[in-house]
Structures are given as C-alpha cells and as structure tokens.
Subunit: 452 residues, 2 copies
C-alpha cells in the first residue's frame, strides 16, 4: 500500500505515524514545502516570551527521525498537481524547480493546513510587517523585535494575545488591536473576556478594540498603524488576523469543497474515496449547532490524523463533531472555553441561561488560593452547551471535565450532584464547577417558574 501525505504539520504527521503503528509495510511518503517538520507552532509565543529557551527546542523531530520508522519525508517540496483519476501527484523541489517529480499512490492524504489571512489594506507589504504561522515566521518576528521598541499586533484572538505578551516580555511597548469590541470573541463572552483584558492591561499591554485596521503607513519600513482616528507608532506590526484553509490542491484534485474548506465524511474521507484530508484544511461539524465550522487546532489535527490512518488501514474509526475546546496561558493567567459562548448560542438561535461564579482554586484558608471564574451556559432544558473558565491555575483540566460533561449531554442539575475530589491544597470542598452548575440550576428554575 502506497500512501502519500501532502503536508508535514500535526495532521499530516499524525496520519503518517498512526498508519505506521497499524501497518508496518505501508510505503508512506510525506511531502512538505517547509524546511522544518514536527515542530509545535502553538509554542512560538512561548519562545517569544522566554518561557521556552529557543526555537530549536520546539522542533520535536527531524525528517531523519521519521526515516527510522520507515516514513519518507520530502522537505522543501511543492506539490503542484494531483491527478486523482490516475492516482498521481506531481511535485518539484524548491531548490530545483525545473525538475518535475511524479509519485503514485493508493491513498492520498491532503494535510495542507492554512495560510495567514492578510487584511486587504495598504501597507501590509512593508518591511517590519509580519504574519504568524510557521517557525520561520516566529524566528523573523523574534529577530526584528530585538531591534524594535513599539509593536502593534492586529487581532485579539488567542494567538494575537499570546504573541503580544511575548513581545511585551521582550521589552517592547505593545498595542493589540481588534475590530470586534472584545478580545477572544470566538471563545469568551464579553464579561469573561473583560477579566482577561484587565489582566493584560495590568501587564502593560495596550488594547484598542472595536476598530478594524485601516492601513499601515511607512516608507519601505513600517512606521505606524492606522485604525479610524487611532494612529499608532510602530516599528513592527504582527498580523494575527486568522487562518484561511489552503484548498488549492484539493481543488485541483477535484475534491468537493464545503462552506469553509474541504468536505470530509466522519472517516476523514473526501468526495474522492481514496483521498483523505485532515487538519486546518478541512471543515468539521460543531457538536452543539450541527453546523459546519473550522477547528484550526493542533489537537484536532492530531485526532483527525488518527481517524484517517485507522480508516486507511481498514480499521473503523469516526471523527466526532467538535466542541471547540481551547485553552491558553498568558503570563500567569490560564483561560479556556469549550462549547458555545452565550453570545454564540444566541447567535445560533438557542435560548440559554448561564450560571457564573467567582470562587477559589483551593480551600479558603489555604495560602496561595487563587480566584477562579467559571461560567456555564445551558439551554432551557438544562443541557450544558458551553463553559468558560479563567484562573491563575488549574483551568485546563477543568475545561476537559466540562468537555466530557457536554459531550455526554449532562444537564446542569446532573453536574451539580456529581462527585468531585477534594483536598484543601487542591480544591474547595464544593468545586467551582459545581457552584456554577448550581447557579445555572437556580436560574433555570426561576425561568421555568416565570414561564409556567
């Protein structure tokens, strides 16, 4: 069995490794345009802020390591044609563009990821304007930052904020701009976003919300970013304005595209049976709304790679709709979200209530107890459909607990009577999640009383 995988990111390499796990004889070839493979793009901000020593640290494997597992990786190579009728791909090496190579496959896996969206405004081509996607982007930003004093980061999603904090820690004056009126709009409701915003402002990061980037001004090099009346002096601008799926090759192969990107079934199979697709270039279904959406998470790509691999080797496996479970750490603050926010629920026509509490991460008397904010979103039948958590510790695993609660279709009253572990240095005797669930129950019974 010959398998060709286009793309050396989390999705492509997870597919390759998992096929090898189940089939020791498959001929597996990964073709990637990148120099480096198997690095963690999510870790770039943590190199910038100094928590991880250097960019080399976040490269987990070299192409040669894959050879040891009999997985061939062709780097710096551009696939320019997929002939899905003949089961062939054509590529050239970037250093020898003149020579065309051709490879046959039994199964093709498209894991082409996405590219940064560049806002269609003046000045994005100036020196000192950066996109953020690859390790090389990270290295360029770090290099330029070492001679910079003022940075503007456009986009207050997770990556934008993480990069902003990294640049601040490198001593720059940093302003984050966002066209929406709040930060992290995809994952946090305004009230919860406000808590993160205050933390960032206390860390000395400037925020300009509710203004789209109008243009970047400069003479060869960037000099300032303009948003409406705001003109912000800058010697560097980082565009963290989202990722667009890379579907060119899927298009050439004549795989069907959906609303956002490549359409796949629950086996990660495209409309062409022997072509699979995984990672940022495919669209997924939202577990709550049932609508197609984009996940754009490394952890999703890894799970999709496993599903694709199992189906390619003939084992059954299904990728289930996503809950958009995300978590981040900026400085000391952890925050995460799973399912729908209240705002997105309303936007999707779902009537909801929310239970929100501020509690502590340890017993009240325990030294070092931190405040923790939990917001649980339920529909009017008590079904939990979302949760947001913010604290200086112990957030990520609580988000995972809520991920299970939502996927198992638990109600807030069921959650409120669930058994949680307790020890004074580790938790409150009644867990903050339980307290938030109790708040949600109270609100629902009030709503139901009113309606009856």
């Amino acid at each position: 069995m010959k398998v060709i995988i286009i793309g050396g990111g989390a999705g492509g390499l997870s597919t390759a490794s998992n096929i090898r796990k189940y089939d020791k004889d498959a001929e597996i070839t990964v073709i990637t345009r990148d120099v480096n493979i198997a690095y963690s793009p999510c870790a770039i901000p943590y190199v910038l802020c100094g928590e991880v020593d250097c960019f080399e640290d976040i490269i987990m494997h070299q192409a040669e390591d894959y050879l040891d597992r009999n997985i061939k990786v062709i780097t710096k190579a551009e696939v320019f044609d997929v002939q899905s009728q003949e089961n062939k791909v054509k590529y050239y090496l970037k250093d020898h563009k003149e020579i065309e190579h051709e490879l046959e496959y039994d199964y093709l896996v498209i894991a082409t990821g996405g590219s940064p969206f560049i806002p269609p405004v003046e000045g994005t081509d100036l020196e000192g304007v950066f996109k953020i996607r690859t390790l090389e982007d990270g290295i360029k930003i770090a290099d330029w930052a070492s001679n910079s004093k003022k940075a503007v980061v456009v986009g207050a999603g997770l990556i934008g904020l993480e990069i902003a904090y990294g640049l601040k820690k490198r001593g720059l004056n940093v302003t984050v701009t966002e066209m929406l009126p709040q930060i992290v709009p995809r994952s946090l409701d305004p009230d919860m976003a406000q808590i993160v915003q205050e933390y960032l402002e206390n860390e000395g990061i400037n925020l300009i919300l509710g203004h789209p980037l109008d243009k970047i001004i400069g003479n060869a090099q960037v000099e300032c970013a303009v948003l409406g009346d705001h003109s912000i002096d800058a010697d560097m601008v980082v565009l963290a304005t989202g990722i667009r799926p890379e579907t060119t090759l899927a298009n050439i192969a004549e795989c069907e595209l959906g609303r956002w990107s490549i359409q796949v079934n629950e086996k990660m199979q495209t409309s062409i049976p022997n072509i699979y697709a995984v990672g940022d270039c495919v669209e997924v279904y939202d577990a709550i709304t049932g609508q197609s959406t984009q996940s754009l998470l490394g952890s999703t790509a890894v799970r999709q790679g496993k599903v694709a691999a199992r189906n390619i080797v003939g084992l059954n496996s299904e990728f289930i709709p996503v809950l958009n479970s995300v978590v981040s750490k900026i400085g000391k603050l952890e925050f995460g979200s799973v399912g729908l926010t209240k705002v997105s629920a309303i936007h999707n026509g779902i009537d909801v209530i929310s239970g929100k509490i501020r509690a502590l991460t340890k017993a009240r008397y325990y030294p070092g107890a931190k405040k923790i904010d939990v917001k649980i979103v339920c529909n009017l039948k008590e079904l939990i459909i979302g949760c947001q958590i913010i604290a200086e510790e112990r957030v990520a695993e609580r988000v995972d607990t809520m991920s299970l609660a939502i996927s198992q279709k638990m109600t807030c009253s069921e959650l409120a009577s669930t058994e949680f572990s307790y020890a004074p240095p580790l938790s409150m005797v009644i867990d903050p999640i339980i307290l938030a669930a109790e708040e949600a129950c109270k609100k629902i019974s009030r709503v139901n009383k009113k309606n009856s």
Copy 2:
C-alpha cells in the same frame, strides 16, 4: 418547622446551611459535643507540615456566624437520648452534666460522624499516643511533636501519610507502619502505590509494610512500637488506623443499621421517616459494585447534607452511589483515585484490564514538565470502572474528569476519541488520559482476539 441536627461537622452544617437556603423560617438547631465547629479536619496535616500557618486558620466559622443566619448552634453538648416516638432529644451541656435539656423536632438529622478506631493492643493508653480526628487532636499532636524526635504513625492510608509528612517537616524522624503490604491500599493498586512510596522514602520517611501493630511499650510515656520483629523507638505514636461510624444515638432512636453504619435511602432518610442521617455515620452504595460501603469523605458529607436539606424542605433530591473519588497532596506529590482499583475489582469478581502510561504534564520541550502516571481500569466490555493518577501537578482535576467518565458510563474507546484542550504550557497535545485509554483499548482488543 423545627429541625434538630446532631453534629457540627461537614454533614451537619451543610444540612443546616442548605435548609436555611431554601427555607428562611425553619427553626434550625445544631447540637455538637465539640468546642469548635466548621473547621476543616482534612487540613490538620497541612498545618502540621507548615503549609497552613496555624490551627486557627482552618476554623472557617464560629457558632456566632451561624446565629447571623438564624441557625442556633449549641456547642459542648452531649445528646444522650432520642425519643423518636415523641420527636424529642435530650442533652446536657458538658460543663453542667447535671441539668437535662429537652428539645422537640419535626425533623431530626443525625450527623454524628465517626470515631477513630483504636487497635485492641497493649499500650494505646500511654502518654504520647494520639488518635487523629478533631482539631483538638491536631493541636495535641503538634504540641507534643515540638518536644519529640521520633514518631511512629500507624496506618498508611491518606491521613496517616499526610500526618507522617507533617511530622517529618517538623524535623522528626518518622516511621509509618501498615499491616497490609502496600500504602494507600483502598485507593491505589500496588504498582501505583509504589510510586508514592518511593516519593515518601526520598523525603526521608521510613516505611514498614505488611506488619500489624503488636503493642506499644512504655513506662507512663510511650517508648517504642512493636510490630513482629520490628521494635521502633518512638517518643510519640499516632494511630491513623481508620474511622468507625458513631451510631449510638441512631441505635437509641431505633433507626435501622446496615452492615457498616446507619442505613439511609437515596433521600438520606433513615428507617424512621422524619429522621435523616448524613456524613461518616451513614453507609452508602458503591456506584460500580452496588455494594454498601463507607465513604468517610468531607465532600460526601457536604453533598449528603444538601440532599437531606432539599428533601426536608420538600424539594426532591437524590444522593447517588459513590465513586470514592479521593485526592491528596503530600509535599509536591499529588495523587488521586476514583472508582475501583484493579485489585478491588478482582476482589469483587469483576474481570478487568488496565491501561497504564507514564507521560508528561506539559509539552515535552516545555520547561518544568513533570512526569505523570495514569492507570485506567476497565471491564472486558470496555466500560471504565476506575482510574488512578500521580504527578507533581494537575492531578485533582483529571481525577474529576475521570469521575465524570465513570459516572457517565463511558468506554475506554469513547474516552480515547474525546476532545481535550491543548496548549504547550498546560498539557501534551494528546492528553495522558487519552494515552492511558488507548493503552486500555489495545489490551482489550488483544484479550478479545484471544477469546474469539
């Protein structure tokens, strides 16, 4: 409505507070033999080890604080009779034993807790031999320890180990003895207990396993503890040999007792309809085996108090069978368990396999990543019935995640395809829980292949 609650621990006070939450007019009286109420007995070891400053810190409320909520608390009072036919209790104040008091109730709640089990051996009445249950016990241990050099702690359950670590931190030479051949036998399998044991030994705590206490020798004061061939010099001995439910008053009231303690239905109601019972003095059902068992956890008592209160005020509420979810922190090490261990499953006649992994708490390259051990126990239909986790961080919330997985009757393959959050400073891209679930799946498919 007149409610009398006997006992001022977690169960009694949770019942009182919850009744007040739902009914502002109920006459609520709590009668307790203790001086202090509303303290956290689980925190005593953390005062001993110095993480919490002093014993006063772990007292969360005074009797007067309850008066503010119109809950009357009578301290240092001994209830000596319950006349369940006449709905009356009789008590005296310890300082005035000669005066009998009588109170009538509409509902009685027995929350009499438990008393330390004292092994029936010679020498337990010597000076320098301590039980550990109340705040006063903690204070006595701390006082005596300040003039001691060598301590023996009998019993290697959670409390015994936590106390042992506390005494070690106070500079004593500490030996823990246990009659079973492993530590934490109720919550950890031998292979997982070994990891905790090594940590304790590295911290300089001596362990003697597989030997019951034969006797304590001394002349007025304790001089040594004898276990078979072992004779351990000691100027103090702490007996952490378990808790026996206090059922004397339930007996007097003619409530039915079960195998271990007071029998209650899912409403926390005893065999006498207007008498409820909560906390360490009642028996509960194990969610996996269906057998009656004892919980003996503060968090269980708190949940039971809420259920009893809701039923007393006429709201419906059920206490569900327990998963025995426990967690502890000793020094830097966190460890926890939920559901059955492999050993206890086998003991209960359940055929099981386990998936065990050692992974990391953060991305591999992230500074400060700690090793984490996860063991998931499943029956042969893939149903998860237990989990044990050990690491220097991020254990408690993962135990709670597994508590949900077990209560929701998830299979290991369902868990293995669940969405977990990911960020390099907070987790691995594939969560350790997922890795352990995958191991369990692999083992089950091997067993099933063999059997088919």
